[in-house]
Amino acid sequence: MYEKNPLSPHLQIYRWHLSMILSITHRIIGVVNSLAMILICLWTISFLFGEENYEIIKILFQSFFGKLLIISLSWSFSFHMLSEIRHLIWDLGYGFDLKISKITGLITIIGSLALTILIYFLGKNII
């Protein structure tokens, strides 16, 4: 009986709302960013194998897939940073009101998209 009990969070029971979606997304993005960190480490270690061996990675990064990868990573990092700031504000005891919680949730979503554009433009010296 105990084995069949659903594990937290009970996705199949509660009606979906913004805070719930953000909470789940925060957790999934956290796992995705952890895996991204491993790839970043492997990319860094690959420098030790010399310029000739780096050619394959360079071709990959200069392709459309490379650009998509960096933009996706910029968004996942942006989302995680803003969502983490939201959590830190909660930890200080602010923003628990339902209306404020919805507003900060929307700021996290829209802000992560805006921050992704800003990061890419800053990186490419466009602004």
Partner: protein
């Protein structure tokens, strides 16, 4: 202080350090990712890049190992498997950044 309180404080402390370093790294990654090998190595050879990147790796792996262990806590019901998974995660979170930082420090 209770073990869980210490862990919670460690998560919060690492996240405060991680946020600005994450921003620094992703902006620089967007700047250099499609550059030549020489340009990328030149960036990572700078003392400031080595220091900030090393700090970023330590903060990121500390934060992610602590938070992923919370995911294990929530989703792995078998205590034995959970303990092995958590310990493996902690060892990996020490070894991986150590190897990466060593490789960065060896760049000239």
């Amino acid at each position: 202080m209770h073990h869980s309180t210490k862990k919670w404080l460690a998560i919060k402390f690492s996240s405060i350090i991680l946020i600005p370093l994450m921003f620094w790294f992703i902006v620089n990654l967007a700047s250099i990712y499609d550059e030549s090998y020489a340009e990328i190595v030149n960036f990572f050879s700078k003392t400031s890049s080595k220091a900030l990147y090393s700090l970023f790796l330590i903060a990121a792996f500390s934060f992610f190992s602590l938070t992923i262990s919370e995911v294990f806590e929530d989703y792995i019901s078998n205590e034995k498997i959970k303990n092995v998974a958590t310990k493996t995660l902690y060892v990996f979170a020490i070894v991986m950044p150590l190897i990466t930082i060593s490789s960065i420090l060896s760049l000239n």
